[in-house]
């Protein structure tokens, strides 16, 4: 670490050490710096060195136990993306312990760091990359200092390895140190982090730390939370959009039903508390609720709203004079429209919360991607201070952005408060599908102009989308003015081929009459589908090979070079251009998201009129690969999830009712749709790790569509893609 960096690091890390009833040492990090406001808020979301403050004053990151285990109170939640494992690797690397010594636990707001933002945006690893390692390295040095005092030697003569401190012929385990140390000494400067060539754990394909509990069926999820004396709640949710709650006609009657403890009616909602889940559901169904219908919406009206040209426009990227060139009289301009539908999160574990509200405190157990925000909302709704609410995060049975919006925690708390007992409350599947925070539908208009030598002279992407980031609890209203266009909606929508001399991107913002929000990768899938399909159209028009055509338009800055490397690696490993058997064709697409470029070569055929994907080759460059197996797993899953979204998934509204409301009718990728071959190539051309959970989802739709075009001559411009 250079001298310039040391004072900065030291000044922004402040450590608290507490002896935990003779059991061990607790280390906490205080006062972590907030990054300055960036030019684009999107960059801040991706790269922010997030603040993990905890006004409870403990802010516990690590506990070393007498038995030599180290508990890592992780502020990021685990929803399948592997954050617990990757972060454990970072911590263990600097603590100099085997991964088996680390036990990752969800950070309760009463104890550990509280994530004031979210687990999402593919930034769990990148956001904690430096912070977590510095915390771990500092604790290691404090353990060494403690051991030195006990042994009566100089700390510089000691080494830490495998959870043991040794030197001068003596050894002590970390667990022994914490039992004997009397005074904790913080190192004077933030320790130098382990150099890349010395990494023992970072970069290794370690099996995920939550593998065994998940294979054994352990009760780790939000749905599995219990408390003694727990009752079951059920909240009545509207089946129609754009309605307001007006009260209940038959509360007293329903309260007499068997097993019902109480019918709770507030200003915003009605719910029941009962002795069993079944009794609660039956009672909820019996409630006669007055919903005031503000407007009965139809699909055609939504489609009319989501149109480039309506709503408010923001020019979010501009180079050269694209607009003028694309509107020049007599010039040959290519133009195409692309569409993506509204989609559901459809995560298998429904949203829910277990709440226990007592006179002066509340406890919430649930899976939420926004721990700090959920806690604040619950506290505000109860008239409590934040530190009166303990939120204990649980493993999430899928997140994908659905758990960024958690008013159900407040509802569970209201039910619990009404009966004075713990109440567990969760959505039915129909309620999930009808009250989702949907991925908004999109409309794209692309225009392009080729030069005489077959290169792109001008390129323009205009996208209209319902809100993604806007309107979410994550983005305070004041910031929307700064951000202008909805960065969630245009994620993936920017031109990444910077050697094109003239280009322009315009985002049209539309507020829909129902909640729309983040869905794994936000606008990436739809935007990449439009841009990378249209590039394919332009390549064919120019008579160029689609891969070479892309390479011809890549600039030479660092970001572009990483994209180039990914495209070249994918084309090579995927044997782009090889002779294909009759009835099969390859398709190609690439994208960059969360600073991670990814590209796909897919092999596709048409079987019984349906698009079948046989093989996907994907190169991805997460900068530095923390866990190659985790990156492979995320890529495989993103590819298949994205395949399903591109070929099958679609929500629609009819007479104000959104559907379908059940799996099956809402068609998703299943075993039979998964490609039999998926080949993931990991490149590491960055100086720090970047996101993995979402980026590999980007190119799949366009890659499939481009292969179908090659195979059939049909250009599919609307997701879900169907052959005519």
């Amino acid at each position: 670490m250079s001298n310039e960096q040391k004072p900065k690091s030291k000044s922004r890390r402040k450590f608290l050490v507490r002896s935990a009833i003779g059991l061990g040492v607790i280390i906490g990090g205080g006062a972590l710096g907030l990054s300055p406001m960036r030019r684009f808020l999107a960059i801040a979301v991706d790269e922010a060195d997030l603040a993990y403050s905890n006004d409870a004053g403990v802010n516990l990151w690590f506990e070393v136990l007498a038995d030599n285990r180290i508990l890592f109170h992780c502020p990021k939640i685990e929803m399948g993306q592997g954050a617990f494992t990757g972060l454990a690797q970072l911590a263990a690397e600097e603590l100099k312990v085997p991964i088996s010594m680390i036990e990752v636990v969800n950070s309760s707001t009463a104890k550990g760091p509280v994530d004031g933002f979210s687990t999402g945006g593919s930034n769990s690893i990148s956001g904690l990359w430096v912070v977590l390692r510095e915390l771990a390295a500092t604790m290691r040095e404090m353990l060494k200092n403690g051991a030195a005092d006990i042994m009566g030697v100089n700390a510089t003569s000691l080494q830490a390895k495998d959870g043991v401190i040794s030197g001068n012929g003596k050894t002590m385990s970390y667990g022994e140190v914490v039992q004997q140390v009397t005074e904790w000494k913080e190192p004077e400067e933030t320790p130098t982090l382990t150099q890349r060539q010395d990494w023992q754990l970072i970069g290794k394909p370690i099996p995920r730390v939550d593998l065994k509990p998940k294979v054994m069926g352990d009760p780790i999820f939000g749905m599995d939370a219990t408390m003694p004396g727990m009752l079951y709640g059920s909240v009545a949710r509207p089946t129609q959009v754009d309605v307001s709650f007006q009260g209940v006609e038959n509360a007293a009657e329903v309260e007499k039903m068997p097993g019902v403890v109480k019918v709770v009616v507030t200003e915003d909602f009605a719910g029941v508390v009962a002795e069993s889940k079944t009794a609660a559901d039956l009672a909820k169904e019996a409630l006669k609720i007055n919903w005031k219908v503000n407007k009965v919406w139809q699909q055609a009206e939504i489609e009319e709203m989501i149109k480039v040209g309506s709503g408010k426009a923001f020019v979010i990227q501009k180079e050269g004079r694209a607009k003028r060139l694309l509107e020049e009289e007599g010039a040959e301009i290519m133009e195409a429209e692309y569409f993506s539908p509204m989609a559901a999160h459809a995560q298998i574990e429904p949203n829910g919360a277990l709440a226990y509200v007592e006179a002066d405190k509340a406890t919430i157990m649930m899976a939420t991607q926004v721990v700090g925000i959920t806690r604040k909302e619950v506290a505000d709704s109860l008239g409590f201070k934040e530190d009166q609410v303990e939120l204990i995060p649980m493993y999430a049975g899928g997140g994908f952005g659905r758990r960024l919006h958690t008013p159900n925690a407040m509802q569970a708390a209201a039910l619990s408060k009404a009966v004075g007992k713990p109440v567990h409350c969760f959505f039915s599947r129909k309620e999930e599908f009808q009250n989702d925070t949907f991925r908004p539908p999109t409309h794209h208009v692309l225009r392009g102009r080729l030069s005489a030598d077959g290169k792109i002279e001008a390129f323009e992407h205009q996208v209209s989308s319902g809100d993604v980031a806007f309107g979410s609890a994550l983005l305070p209203r004041a910031l929307t003015a700064v951000a202008g266009a909805d960065f969630g909606a245009w994620r993936g929508g920017l031109n990444q081929y910077k050697a094109i001399p003239n280009y322009r991107t315009v985002s049209w913002r539309v507020k829909l009459p129902f909640a729309t929000s983040w869905w794994r990768s936000l606008g990436l899938l739809a935007n990449t589908f439009a841009i990378e399909s249209f590039l394919d159209e332009m390549a064919h028009k120019a008579g160029e090979d689609p891969v070479q055509f892309r390479l011809d338009h890549i600039a030479d800055d660092e970001r572009s070079r990483r994209l180039r490397a990914v495209i070249e690696a994918t084309a090579e490993k995927g044997e782009w251009g090889k002779p294909m058997p009759e009835g099969r064709a390859q398709g190609f697409a690439a994208s960059t998201d969360a600073n991670t470029p990814a590209a796909h070569v897919v092999e596709v055929s048409i079987e019984k009129g349906e698009i079948k994907v046989h093989k996907v080759t994907c190169a991805i460059d997460p900068g530095i690969a923390i866990n190659p197996d985790g990156i492979r797993a995320q890529s495989e899953g993103a590819i298949i999830m994205g395949l399903g979204a591109s070929l099958f998934e679609k929500m629609e509204i009819k007479d104000g009712v959104i559907g379908p409301t059940i799996y099956g009718a809402y068609k998703m990728a299943r075993m039979k749709h998964a490609p039999k071959e998926i080949d993931i190539i990991i490149l590491e051309n960055g100086s720090k790790p970047s996101g993995v959970g979402e980026p590999p989802l980007g190119p799949i739709g366009a890659a499939i569509g481009n292969a179908v075009f090659k195979l059939t001559g049909q250009r599919l411009r609307s997701m879900p893609m169907e052959l005519s």
Partner: protein
């Protein structure tokens, strides 16, 4: 009504409305949380368990039909420390991501291997029709083939 059945080798008696789904009896009354709720309509398979060795979607299976039968959940799939071949294969291939749907898939796979010890890809496509939103299907397919091998090796031993 009083209903008794064997759950993971232990006799259980419950006093409950016979139409209550077996899923909620097991999860809420008997406090075994490994069997998951996904949709309540037998459409996703997250609640798959075995009744007398057959894969059953317990969210839509009234508890009265379990009377005097033997029910196995994910918690009863392993024999003590000895993991079931399906669980071993799931560990080897590092299948789970969020993990929520995985007990249902493992139970469906364990039942499939009893009927078809060495399923082809087509057998897997036809029979393993649960839903995994993380889309771990690629590894799951490998794990199913691997589980068949482990099971074969165990029965040969």
């Amino acid at each position: 009504m009083n209903i008794s059945f064997v759950l993971n080798g232990t006799e259980q008696r419950v006093d409950v409305d016979g139409n209550t789904p077996l899923l909620w009896v097991i999860r809420d009354m008997l406090n075994m949380k490994g069997t998951k709720f996904g949709c309540g309509k037998a459409a996703c398979g997250a609640c798959t368990l075995h009744v007398d060795g057959q894969a059953v979607r317990s969210c839509s299976y009234a508890v009265k039909f379990a009377q005097s039968k033997s029910v196995t959940t994910i918690e009863g799939l392993s024999q003590g420390d000895q993991l079931h071949p399906v669980q071993q294969a799931w560990m080897e291939e590092i299948v789970p991501q969020c993990g929520y749907c995985q007990p249902g898939f493992m139970m469906a796979t364990a039942a499939l291997l009893e009927r078809i010890p060495h399923p082809t890809d087509e057998d897997i496509d036809k029979n393993i029709v649960n839903i995994c939103r993380c889309a771990t299907y690629y590894r799951m397919r490998k794990a199913i083939h691997r589980a068949a091998e482990i099971k074969q090796a165990q029965s040969n031993a």
